[in-house]
């Protein structure tokens, strides 16, 4: 079999694993992660005190935890570890998650921790004058955030968030280690059958590169769209 034959036979299987697992896991995890990130960023920048400090402390702990431990280890804890979290009476069987659910939970929390700092930085980069102008019109804090600050912050955070999404797409390959049959896992299985690891792993790397290139093009299109207001004549 020539290298070309190997590529022709393997590509459809890899692409279907990519469509079935890699892309959906990345997209769902990113959407959940972004939601967590916005909430985390808003809690962190809040000036509220009192009991709210406990909530704040919890979110600081969460970000610290997920940024200070390896993603692969996090996946292992959630998928292989949690079934052993047995609490008599409440959780006699531990927490058993399907591989995909465990993967999405871990990827979401990991993305949320990193993206929250991106979004927090973007919100803080909007000049005070924007808050003041909106407040002086009589807008409530919630309206100022949703109507004035977040739309501007989203533009600022678009490049770093695109970075994080591209990173996440590649990180889904780690899901192979928790028994998800995503694209990288499929490439390993085929390589084990045809004894062509070099070709197989270069092929799967090339498919990741194609996806990420498409995302990069999408990013520059989005950047042009959201920054149309800053183009001066």
């Amino acid at each position: 079999m020539s290298a070309w034959d190997i590529i022709r036979d393997a590509t459809p299987q890899l692409v279907s694993a990519c469509i079935a697992y890699t892309i959906p896991i990345a997209i769902v995890s990113f959407i959940i992660g972004l939601t967590i990130a916005v909430i985390t960023a808003l809690v962190k920048i809040s000036h509220r005190g009192g009991l709210f400090n406990i909530v704040k402390a919890f979110f600081y702990f969460y970000v610290w935890l997920f940024r200070s431990t390896p993603l692969l280890v996090q996946l292992f804890i959630v998928f292989f570890g949690l079934p052993y979290l047995r609490i008599a009476g409440i959780l006699p069987d531990g927490i058993r998650l399907t591989p995909v659910v465990a993967g999405i939970i871990t990827f979401s929390l990991n993305t949320g921790a990193y993206a929250s700092e991106t979004i927090r930085g973007a919100i803080l980069s909007i000049p005070d004058g924007q808050w003041e102008a909106a407040y002086s019109l009589g807008m409530t804090k919630r309206k100022v955030l949703w109507r004035i600050i977040l739309p501007q912050a989203s533009r600022v955070s678009l490049p770093p968030l695109s970075n994080e999404f591209i990173g996440l797409v590649k990180d889904t390959s780690l899901a192979a280690s928790i028994t998800i049959v995503e694209m990288f896992e499929v490439s390993q299985q085929i390589a084990a059958e045809n004894y062509q690891p070099l070709i197989m792993y270069i092929l799967v790397a090339a498919i990741y590169a194609v996806i990420c290139s498409v995302l990069t093009i999408l990013q520059s299109y989005l950047e042009k769209r959201v920054s149309r207001y800053s183009v001066s004549n």
């Binding site: 000049p127 004058g129 924007q130 003041e132 102008a133 909106a134 407040y135 002086s136 019109l137 009589g138 807008m139 409530t140 309206k143 109507r147 004035i148 739309p151 501007q152 533009r155 149309r228 207001y229 800053s230 183009v231 001066s232 004549n233």
Partner: protein, 247 residues
């Protein structure tokens, strides 16, 4: 009528406002002048509650606020809806077109329909001579144009008072004029204005009353004519310094 009684505000050890008592009458133009760092901006921003003084009373029509107590958000919103600010650096919303900048407060705060808000916005943009730029973004405007849009945005809220914080300080002199004309028109229409400015020629022309602030204290509060003819040495020094600056 705005009525301040014994209002004080400190930043750290510095007295930004030191026991200030003042009135800003309705349908008049009040101009606040004074050296840099004297507390004029803090005073103006306190009227919109962007700054909260620590002591004193603030009466707005029938509403009384005691600064020594914590203000409820309802009180703050209520005052802000009756006063609107125009800033030295314009602070237009860069992600919205000129038209939408003027519509935003009407829709979000006054709960007007979009059609209604658009109609008002177009009228006001016409009034300040900016209707042809309705679909532009703020980054496409000159400073004078941006400030005229900011004035329209502020007028759209039908505020009882418009508070202007050095509205022309960031503008070149020849551009300054187009903004001053708009303000003179508003003064003629008996819109209540409180203006902080360094432009004494403009102050002399537009003001019904002058407030002179120095070191957080009221150094003069009265007729425009009396201010410019004052025998008070500090006022004379201030006027001399400002005129020299303007050469």
């Amino acid at each position: 009528m705005i009525n301040l009684k014994n209002v004080s505000k400190t930043f750290g050890k510095q007295h930004a406002l030191d026991n200030i008592s003042l009135q800003f009458p309705k349908n008049k133009t009040s101009v606040i002048v004074g050296p840099s760092g004297s507390g004029k901006s803090t005073l103006l921003r306190s009227l919109n509650l962007l700054e909260t003084p620590e002591a004193g009373e603030y009466e707005f029509n029938d509403q009384k606020i005691d600064f020594s107590k914590k203000l409820s958000s309802k009180t703050i919103l209520n005052i802000r809806r009756k006063t609107s600010m125009v800033f030295q650096s314009f602070n237009l919303f860069p992600h919205l077109t000129v038209l939408k900048n003027v519509m935003e407060g009407q829709v979000q705060v006054l709960n007007k329909s979009k059609e209604e808000a658009k109609e008002v916005a177009e009228q006001l943009l016409d009034k300040v001579g900016m209707l042809d730029k309705a679909d532009s973004y703020p980054s496409q405007l000159s400073g004078g144009q941006a400030q005229r849009v900011a004035i329209a945005r502020s007028l759209a809220m039908h505020p009882e008072y418009i508070l202007l914080d050095e509205p022309t300080s960031a503008l070149d002199p020849e551009i300054e004029l187009e903004v001053l004309k708009v303000l003179l028109d508003l003064a003629k229409e008996k819109q209540s204005l409180v203006i902080v400015t360094h432009n004494l020629t403009f102050a002399q022309r537009v003001a019904d009353k002058i407030v002179f602030i120095e070191d957080g204290k009221v150094g003069f509060d009265g007729d425009t004519k009396d201010f410019f003819e004052s025998d008070d040495q500090r006022i004379k020094d201030f006027l001399a310094a400002m005129t020299l600056q303007n050469i």
